[in-house]
């Protein structure tokens, strides 16, 4: 029983080979100090009984990129006894650079010339024996779609003696590295000249497609269409299944648990803890399954088809205006549906700085759960032009997102920018099978790691709620909301906002149930004094304040509790200040409150600025250097 690591360039089909060798069964683990998921599988084949660890797709082994650093640190740790290097046969010249670096590290290694069938179709003739001779390492040709190649690869692996060796790392001095790179590429050129006969020009077909996809005029519209499709498939179609999961998991873990406990005659507090508490936690977790699965399924399809790179290529310039790379568009877009998968999608951003910035901005993309609140208030208070009110809220959210991005870009992240340097692979037919495996893996990682935080947190909140703690908290804090137009009698609104931390949909149901408990004839309209201004101020607050606890938990996993606390307080303070300024300006008339709101806002922004200047100096501002230290 030993450990094999699998390494290769992005787009080399490494994950297909991983799936081929492990049969698609994967476990998720941890890379020390980072939030990137570690994928592990098992290989059982005649004489090979090993764990297979998937290293991130990398081009080299330098310390300047997070993914490469993960690979470096992992190989230095000597956990791996053997290395499989997956190489794209249609792109040999550049792929072999990593091969040479890995070879120099000294670990027993096998080179797999992947996509060999595609290379043959393209007329590329590769002399495998010659490459083996020049590399001095066993080489085997394979295609991830040929099941029989699994045996072929593993038979070659079986012939290599696994061994833990002390690793030699490539130099990190830039002049030494330049010389090393030149030498390696010279050797690669020799191999290309002696062992490889070039095929047809492969980009003809891709270029034809790109003529439309990255065209000056059609590039953006096609991108928007693709994003609309992604959104519709994920939120629209995937969203259809939310109720299904909610019902089933509710039936099993809440009602089912209650039934069992009743039969067993258990005390009521146990009922509350297990059924209302943990049961609700599990049920809430399950409501995210369909969207997470569909989102990552379609992201995988977009990536493997090669379109994702084009999308980033088209959008980069625009996104950089708010300080984010082109790829960040997808998490932002998904944020309009649900913040939880949006936070998870920030994974694809290689740079921590980009992920933190995204986490700050994403909540301003008003999520789907807030929409029912807007709609009900719009219908109640703005019978004419209600749609415009809702639209205005979304626009305000987007504007604030852009402003926040600019603010962060010019203060905290001044001068730092992540790399764009990106390969544009050939267009390929995406594999539904691999996309499914990839989506299931993400889902599994969400359940295992996200669930660990989400379930207990929601359980605690649900328990507190059922004993009336949330209601008490809402009533106690109600005075704070007076400036935004919630009168003393309207304390249910304050409580509803608290329940909104649970889930934004809970706001309206909470309002309705609390108003109906009142003896007087109270409804939303009367409670807000029939005031359009108060209603809109309330909606402004709902738009901006803290995201739901599920989103908060998900973001803690992505960027750590420090940044999350900052984001939550920033957006809540922003919401309170803006709502106060709006209400007081148009109705309340209290200059004191207006001045207070501005002061609070200015103070807070200034405070954030100061903290970042002192604390965030280097770790956040560094371009690509990201390691354990920068993870606060």
């Amino acid at each position: 029983m030993y450990t094999i690591a699998i390494a290769g360039n992005p787009n080399s089909g490494k994950s297909s080979i991983f799936n081929l060798l492990t049969g698609g069964k994967q476990k998720v683990g941890n890379w020390p100090g980072v939030t990137v998921d570690k994928k592990i599988g098992k290989i059982k084949h005649s004489s090979v009984n090993a764990d297979l660890v998937d290293l991130p797709g990398i081009y080299a082994m330098s310390a300047w990129s997070e993914d490469e650093k993960i690979a470096r640190d992992y190989l230095v740790s000597c956990e791996a006894d053997l290395l499989i290097n997956v190489v794209d046969s249609t792109n040999l010249e550049r792929n072999l650079f990593l091969t040479y670096l890995l070879k120099d590290m000294g670990i027993p290694m096998l080179v797999v010339l992947n996509m060999f069938d595609v290379a043959e179709k393209q007329g590329i003739k590769i002399n495998i024996e010659e490459i083996e001779k020049q590399l001095g390492i066993p080489v085997v040709a394979a295609s991830a779609i040929r099941k029989s190649d699994k045996g072929k690869i593993l038979d070659s692996v079986a012939k290599i003696k696994p061994e833990k060796k002390t690793i030699k790392l490539p130099p990190q001095d830039e002049n030494e590295y330049e010389i090393l790179a030149e030498n390696i590429y010279k050797q690669i050129e020799n191999i290309m000249a002696s062992a490889v006969k070039k095929g047809v020009y492969v980009y003809t077909a891709s270029d034809k497609v790109d003529k439309i996809v990255t065209n000056k005029f059609t590039g953006l519209p096609i991108f928007l269409l693709a994003m609309y499709l992604l959104f519709w498939l994920t939120i629209g179609v995937g969203g259809l299944f939310i109720d299904f999961f909610k019902t089933i998991f509710g039936a099993i873990f809440i009602d089912g648990t209650k039934m069992v406990l009743e039969k067993a005659g258990a005390p009521n507090c146990l009922n509350v803890i297990l059924a209302d508490g943990i049961g609700t936690g599990i049920q809430t977790l399950s409501t995210f399954f369909p969207i997470i699965f569909t989102l990552f399924f379609f992201i995988a399809i977009l990536e493997s088809s090669g379109y994702m790179a084009r999308a980033a290529f088209v959008m980069d310039r625009l996104m950089r205006f708010i300080g984010l790379p082109g790829k960040a568009f997808i998490p932002l877009l998904i944020g309009f549906g649900c913040t939880v998968p949006a936070f998870m999608a920030t994974r694809s951003l290689e740079n921590k700085r980009d992920r933190v910035l995204s986490v700050f901005i994403i909540p301003f993309m008003s999520c789907g759960a807030r929409l029912p609140v807007y709609v009900i208030f719009a219908a109640t208070f703005f019978p004419v032009g209600g749609t415009n009110i809702v639209f205005a809220l979304y626009i305000i959210g987007i504007v604030l997102a852009v402003l926040t991005g600019l603010l962060l870009k010019k203060t905290v992240y001044k001068g730092s920018v992540s790399h764009f340097i990106m390969e544009l692979p050939q267009y390929r037919a995406p594999s539904v099978k691999n996309a499914t495996i990839s989506a299931l893996f993400r889902l599994y990682a969400f359940i295992k790691k996200g669930g660990r935080v989400l379930v207990p947190v929601i359980a605690v909140l649900a328990i507190l709620n059922s004993v009336g703690v949330l209601e008490k908290a809402g009533k106690t804090v109600a005075p704070v909301f007076e400036p935004i137009g919630i009168s003393k009698e309207n304390w249910p609104a304050s409580v509803a906002l608290f329940s909104g931390i649970f889930a934004k949909e809970a706001i309206t149901s909470s309002l309705n149930s609390l108003y109906s408990q009142n003896e007087k004839e109270v409804n939303i309209r009367t409670a807000f004094g029939d005031s359009k201004v108060a209603a809109f101020a309330f909606l402004l607050f709902v738009l901006l304040y803290a995201p739901c606890i599920s989103a908060i938990s998900a973001s803690i996993r992505e960027v750590g509790i420090g940044f999350v606390a900052l984001q939550v307080s920033y957006s809540t303070v922003l919401g309170w200040s803006l709502a106060t300024i709006f209400y007081q300006s148009f109705e309340g008339g209290s200059l004191f409150y207006i001045a207070l709101a501005f002061a609070v806002l200015a103070l807070f922004v200034g405070f954030v600025y100061i903290i970042k200047r002192f604390h965030g100096g280097t770790p956040l501002a560094a371009t690509a250097l990201r390691g354990k230290g920068a993870d606060t």
Binding site: L92, E174, D316
Partner: protein
């Protein structure tokens, strides 16, 4: 043969070729490592393919594959046509 010019890459028109001369002395270390690893070593020939609809980034072809980089990143490389 034109002389070695910074930002020469940025002046290339689609279809034009150039050869990497050297790296700018103030080239960011991280960029340099990445570009070297990707094959942009001294003497490497590459071809300009296109620019993004918004003018940035640009796409070049080298060693049989396509690479895109921002104009600002391309400044790290000095080349001749």
């Amino acid at each position: 043969m034109h002389s070695c010019v910074q930002n020469a890459m940025l002046h290339l028109k689609p279809g034009e070729k150039a050869v990497v001369e050297q790296y700018a002395s103030n080239a960011d270390k991280a960029y340099k490592f990445k570009l070297l690893s990707l094959g942009l070593t001294k003497g490497t020939e590459f071809k300009m393919i296109k620019t993004s609809p918004f003018g940035d980034p640009i796409e070049i072809e080298l060693r049989g594959y396509r690479l895109s980089l921002r104009r600002h990143e391309a400044e790290a490389i000095l080349c001749t046509q």
